[in-house]
């Protein structure tokens, strides 16, 4: 959270943004429930003891209690989303991936964006969900504009508070999204305004052009949240194809 004083406002905004994006992308992945997990796994790392299985009488009681426990777990942890654990970010309850690889992927991708964000080269960052045929089903898009001409200093706190509202809104916008089929895949893509020249820096090599299939049909947009507070303007919306079920209305 500590930031250096000598950074440009764009740099400050970008570093706040990167942090935010990491959380927000995790939240999106969590929201879509791509990572179902074992039934009783959530956050209980110690297995329960077994010695009283021998007592039949107790066994019956135990069964009863187990049932209760299951109910409790169902209520508390929303079974199936056990790949995440609850954390606090900017005092909002958010999720964090438990699997180190997943965590790393999100973290590395987003921090790879940092230099480009500072330069204002990134147009949008998308979290794309594909079905088994690699056809995108839904895109969560963060459209960013970092005002390069903005001169005065950034009030990091104000920015955080406005970004906070994104997370709050996101957590209640599950109804806006579509249910994903099983076995889907997802990735993070970034749309750059111009291609970074390869070889200029380490980070530039990090990015490869994607060949993500584009939708044939006109797509629909459902805005979730917009924010405009200099030097950062951020819009968050969902893109989905006008497939039969959604476009009926």
């Amino acid at each position: 959270m500590q930031r250096k004083e000598n950074e440009t406002p764009q740099g400050q905004a970008a570093s706040v943004l990167v942090e935010f994006l990491e959380v927000a992308i995790t939240a999106v992945v969590f929201l879509k429930g791509v990572y179902p997990s074992g039934f009783l796994l959530p956050s209980l790392d110690s297995p329960s003891s077994m010695p009283f299985l021998f007592f039949f009488f107790f066994f019956l009681l135990l069964l009863l209690l187990l049932l209760l426990l299951l109910l409790l777990l169902l209520l508390l942890f929303d079974v199936g989303k056990g790949a995440f654990e609850r954390r606090r970010y900017m005092n909002v309850v958010v999720q964090r991936a438990r699997h180190p690889q997943l965590r790393y992927y999100i973290h590395a991708t987003v921090s790879g964006l940092l230099p480009f964000l500072q330069k204002g080269m990134v147009d949008r960052v998308a979290v794309v969900f594909f079905n088994t045929d690699n056809v995108p089903l839904e895109k969560f898009i963060f459209k960013l504009t970092v005002n390069q001409s903005y001169g005065s200093s950034v009030e990091g706190v104000d920015l955080q508070i406005s970004l906070r509202s994104f997370l709050a809104k996101l957590s209640v916008s599950e109804s806006l999204t579509k249910k994903l089929p099983p076995d889907c895949r997802w990735e993070i893509t970034g749309n750059f305004q111009l291609l970074p020249e390869t070889g200029t820096s380490k980070e530039a090599n990090f990015w490869i052009p994607t060949d993500t299939k584009q939708w044939e049909q006109p797509l629909f947009i459902t805005p979730i949240r917009s924010m405009s507070s200099d030097p950062l303007c951020l819009q968050f919306y969902i893109e989905h194809p006008s497939l039969s079920e959604s476009s009926v209305l």
Partner: protein, 1093 residues
């Protein structure tokens, strides 16, 4: 969970017993935990419980958890190297959302040797950190913080930056630290100053909410001996009046009345007060001081919430033989109730007194006594009649002088009527005021009781107590003067009086107490200490039953003991004000000066006796009467209120019929209140509000035992006195005052009718066509003499006339001899033919010539001087007539800080001032002034200088330059569409709403309100193609402005629009017209179309 089972069933596991012990020790810390955290921490909680030893209950679990958290914290703290002990000894608890977050704060605490508590505990926590508190917690700050400092998180950050522990005091949360004076208080100060009270009716009652211990009975200032004479004159009147009446009363007394016919009164307040407060002055005197405020009774009694409980005396006083006991039988119950209520009589005597001696009370000079206080020892004399009620009755019956006599309602020895006053022989039998007659009779079988004679007291002004300030009189011997006064009183009235002399009002009163009966006492400053030392605490005014009990618990019985306690601990224990009062009083300090006139804060009426309803109709009828009463009282005091509170006493479910006949018995007290934007005292509005409020209770009317209506947030409506202030008062209190003035004058039926309807509209639906009517009233009002002929036709606003209710219109038409219809037709034609703003401009221009006060604006730049230059430029640039007038008038009206209308406010200034200030300013400009802005372009500099505004603002906010120049309609801080489209009624409304919500708010926030209002506007007017086009254009431009940066806003707007398109034809047309454009715009920017479910 699993292990829990195993533990409880068998104690084979050895380790468990150990853990249990640990639990027990943890329990001993006796922590007060807040259960709130359970939900958010549930994960860790449950995982913890499944792993760890069992917990017998939640508290032991929490104790354990706290213990664990502390251990965790300690281990983490010891792990972090190189700590600087900045916060050693500090233990914080973070409440709610803070910046930096609680986790960061915890990190700092770890690093700098502080402690961090996850759960609040009075014993561990030393500071509470929070950035914001909900209102409920602020109100009850002591319960929330348990007296701990509530500090902003910056305290920690700054302390770290300074590398030492800073004092937390400057970082105290503002909400808690002080009740900062609000801008509103600043604005209203002036208007309250203007309140030169004239009381037009004797029957008004004022209840000041401020607790004040001394009744300021005598506002006499002892400067000339003639004034003493005046007081004696009062007493002489008493004697004269009661001479003839008491003879009448003896007849009454002799009459044998049937038991059932007797009216028994409800005096629960008095009863409770007196039974509990043995040392209450009233009690020792055994008589009822007809004092205006008796704080010890009205504030410290546990059950009687400081309402006035009125009694219903026997109807001899009214002279009618008909006895009506309850709301059921008496159609004029409310009226009679208050006519016969003794407490009401007492409560309102001050107004009567003031009316009688207007010169005396207004001639008071408080300044002198205040300024002299420091160097001259002030001397206050307190004169109090001895058992006034009884004395008046018996002074013509020498035979009764040494007999026990009491005044009460009923002579029936079984009666439950309370004795209100008893003379000294009666007191020696142990009879006290507030006793039931039957108890008194048991104590003293030959007690003679007399009924009240209100007329006697009423005519005599019933002042039985007075404070006189001798300070300036330079009297050599105050005792001599006191005895001469007493002598004169006795000679003229044949009633005895006691006098007390002291250095201040407190001491004078205490002196009187010792002097009674029929004596006098002078407590010199040197003797104050001795005298107070032995004085029981409850002899001090302001200490009632509750406070006395509290003090007793601390084993404080006398003032001497009270003095041992430090001021700080008193304030901590009893609150700031009470604590200070106790501290001061126990030392005989009293800063109040004689004769301060208190402003009343609320006015109301309660009826808690005889209230029984059969059905809703009864209840409504009763409420109507109650409203009349309250309205009357408001009118007497010349005020109007904005907040209306309806209090209801509801019979408790298990309560029996009360012991007191027709009393209220055991009741729940319920209340609801509502605040309206325009102050009023109008009966009809009151009735409507009250009906609405009653609806909120969802109560069976049969259960109602008492009803009270109170009006607060009073505004002074008395404008008749100062003709030159009419505009000003209109500006400060809204059009209501105009209405009120008319209403009062009552000469012109048309005017008052019109005004009534206007204010009722204004209050019930605070927006809507009423603004136009208000405006119209202004028109009528300011055109010279308000009671003379109606204004010339040319001054009438067509728009307004058209929107008037049909009855009013027809009446108006009559007055104008039928010309009005033609006028309307003509106006309509004009309106339709010319789409420009020409005609209204013209109209206003003509109005202006006669209408001087109408164009009397005060620019905002008086407040915001930094903007003066800009304003000046504008004045020069425009060269418009009204603008020069602006500057001219500004010199005259310099003392009025409120700008006359919103149009006078420079939006760019408004934008730069802080949010809260802005809100206050917007709130204090009555909404209808926004209407001015729209309908009277002639005095609207914003419109005239539209272009310059645009340039100015773009200079001020570089961020908005780009889109401000791109489109025309949304440019500037005051979007130009508001002026451009103001002749279209529907968009004008949108403009108003937009205005009200501040300038920078987004369309989506004002749209719902507009749409809902437009919905019924739609029904009365045809849809104009033009309006649709304008609306479309407006939305198009808005889309253009917002599409790039705020798609969410667009989305919200259009979903709202779509929703309303179903209901309204107009909006469906607008929606259909604009939708393709929207989708195209979205497609351009986002490569897709907006998904509208």
């Amino acid at each position: 969970m699993d292990s829990r089972l195993s533990n409880s069933s068998s104690s084979t596991h050895h380790s468990n017993s150990k853990k249990r012990k640990k639990n027990a020790t943890a329990n001993n810390t006796n922590q007060k935990t807040l259960g709130v955290a359970w939900g958010s921490k549930s994960l860790s909680a449950s995982s913890c419980s499944s792993r760890k030893s069992p917990f017998s209950d939640f508290s032991s679990y929490m104790a354990h958890k706290n213990c664990k958290l502390q251990n965790q914290f300690d281990s983490e703290a010891s792990a972090s190297a190189a700590r600087k002990p900045i916060f050693s000894g500090v233990s914080i608890f973070v409440d709610g959302f803070t910046v930096p977050s609680s986790q960061e704060l915890r990190g700092y605490m770890l690093k700098y040797d502080g402690r961090f508590e996850n759960y609040f505990s009075r014993h561990c926590v030393t500071h509470i950190i929070c950035s914001n508190l909900p209102d409920s917690k602020v109100k009850n700050i002591r319960a929330f913080s348990a007296g701990l400092p509530v500090v902003k998180p910056t305290w920690i950050l700054d302390s770290i930056a300074a590398n030492r522990l800073l004092s937390w005091v400057p970082y105290q949360l503002e909400q808690v630290a002080s009740n900062q004076p609000k801008l509103s208080a600043f604005f209203t100060l002036k208007s309250s100053k203007m309140s030169e009270d004239t009381f037009t009716n004797a029957l008004c009652q004022v209840e000041p909410d401020v607790q004040d211990s001394f009744p300021r009975v005598g506002q006499l200032k002892e400067r000339h001996p003639s004034e003493v004479g005046e007081m004696v004159e009062v007493c002489r009147q008493i004697s004269n009046e009661s001479n003839d009446i008491s003879s009448k009363k003896t007849d009454v007394f002799m009459m044998e009345e049937p038991i059932g016919e007797r009216v028994i009164c409800d005096e629960e307040k008095l009863a409770e007060a007196n039974s509990s407060e043995t040392n209450n002055e009233r009690n020792t005197e055994g008589e009822l001081d007809p004092t205006y405020q008796e704080p010890s009774t009205s504030f410290s009694i546990p059950c009687s919430d400081n309402q006035n409980v009125h009694q219903f005396p026997s109807s001899e006083a009214t002279g009618s033989s008909k006895q009506c006991h309850s709301t059921l039988t008496d159609p004029n119950f409310v009226e009679n109730y208050f006519k016969n209520s003794r407490l009401h009589f007492i409560g309102t005597w001050r107004q009567r007194y003031r009316k009688r001696f207007p010169t005396l009370s207004t001639g008071l000079n408080n300044g002198i006594s205040n300024s002299n206080k420091s160097d001259i020892k002030s001397v206050i004399l307190h004169v109090d009649m001895d058992c006034f009620f009884v004395s008046v009755v018996i002074r013509n019956k020498p035979a009764l002088f040494d007999k026990p006599v009491a005044v009460c309602h009923s002579n029936n020895s079984k009666g439950t009527s309370e004795i209100s006053s008893a003379n000294y022989p009666a007191r020696s039998y142990g009879i006290r005021a507030g006793m039931f007659v039957r108890d008194a009779k048991a104590l003293c079988p030959h007690l003679v009781t007399f009924p009240y004679n209100f007329e006697a007291y009423e005519e005599a002004v019933s002042c039985d107590e007075a404070f006189l300030d001798f300070t300036d009189a330079m009297v050599e011997d105050p005792e001599l003067l006191a005895s001469s006064i007493r002598k004169e009183i006795y000679e003229t009235t044949r009633c005895t009086a006691s006098a007390g002399i002291g250095g201040n009002m407190l001491m004078a009163r205490i002196a009187t107490r010792t002097a009674k009966p029929n004596g006098q006492c002078y407590i010199t400053p040197e003797r104050v200490d001795d005298h107070l030392n032995q004085l029981p605490v409850d002899a001090l005014p302001g200490i009632g039953y509750v406070l006395q009990e509290k003090l007793k618990k601390q084993s404080v019985n006398t003032c001497g003991q009270l003095r041992m306690i430090s001021k700080n601990s008193l304030q901590k224990e009893y609150g700031m004000k009470t604590g200070e009062m106790l501290w001061n009083y126990s030392r005989g300090i009293d800063y109040r000066s004689v004769g301060i006139i208190q402003e009343c804060k609320s006015i109301g009426a309660d009826v808690n006796w005889g209230v029984r309803f059969r059905d809703m109709k009864d209840c409504e009828h009763f409420l109507i009467n109650l409203c009349k009463e309250v309205s009357l009282r408001l009118q007497c005091c010349g005020v109007q209120g904005r907040t209306f509170t309806l209090k209801i006493k509801k019979r408790r479910k298990d309560a029996d019929e009360p012991a007191k006949f027709m009393g209220c018995g055991d009741c729940e007290n319920l209340s609801h209140s509502v605040t309206i934007p325009l102050a009023t005292e109008n009966v009809e509005i009151l009735q409507r509000i009250v009906k609405q409020l009653l609806g909120c209770f969802y109560i069976d009317v049969k259960e109602i035992r008492g009803i009270g209506l109170h009006v607060s947030r009073l505004e002074n409506a008395d404008t008749s006195k100062q003709e030159k202030y009419t505009l000003k008062s209109w500006l400060t209190s809204g059009s209501a005052s105009v209405e009120k003035q008319k209403y009062h004058m009552g000469h012109n039926k048309h005017n008052s009718d019109c005004a009534n309807c206007a204010s009722s509209h204004g209050c019930i639906h605070s927006q809507g066509s009423s603004f136009q009517i208000d405006n119209k009233i202004l028109n009528i009002h300011v055109s010279g003499d308000p009671i003379s002929t109606p204004p010339p036709l040319c001054q009438l606003d067509v728009e307004v006339i058209r929107n008037l209710p049909s009855e009013v219109f027809s009446e108006l038409n009559e007055i104008y001899g039928g010309k009005l219809i033609d006028f309307i037709a003509k106006g309509k034609g004009k309106c339709e033919s010319s789409s420009s703003l020409g005609n209204s401009l013209e109209d206003d221009a003509t109005c202006k010539e006669e209408d001087l006060p109408y164009s009397d604006p005060i620019p905002l730049n008086q407040i915001f001087s930094e903007n003066k230059a800009m304003q000046h430029e504008r004045v020069l640039g425009s060269g418009h007539g009204s603008c020069s007038q602006v500057t001219h008038n500004s010199n005259i009206e310099r003392d009025d800080l409120l700008p006359s209308s919103l149009s006078q406010i420079d939006a760019s200034v408004l934008q730069q001032i802080p949010e809260d200030l802005k809100a206050v300013i917007l709130e204090h400009l009555p909404a209808h002034r926004a209407q001015d802005f729209c309908s009277t372009p002639a005095i609207c500099p914003g419109r005239i200088n539209q272009d310059s505004v645009g340039v100015d603002t773009s200079k001020n906010c570089p961020g908005t330059v780009n889109h401000a120049l791109n489109d025309s309609l949304w440019a500037g801080n005051l979007p130009s569409w508001m002026d451009k489209f103001k002749d279209s009624s529907c968009l004008r409304k949108l403009g108003e709403i937009y205005h009200r919500s501040g300038f920078n708010s987004q369309l989506s926030s004002v749209l719902p309100q507009f749409l809902s209002e437009f919905h019924h506007l739609d029904l009365t007017q045809e849809i104009y193609d033009e309006t649709v086009n304008i609306m479309c254009e407006l939305l198009k431009q808005y889309v253009k402005v917002k599409i790039e940066r705020d798609i969410e806003e667009i989305y919200i707007c259009f979903r709202l629009l779509k929703r309303f398109a179903v209901k309204s034809q107009f909006f469906s047309r607008v929606y259909n017209d604009i939708f393709p454009f929207l989708q195209a715009a979205v497609d351009d920017n986002y490569g897709g179309s907006l998904f509208m479910p």
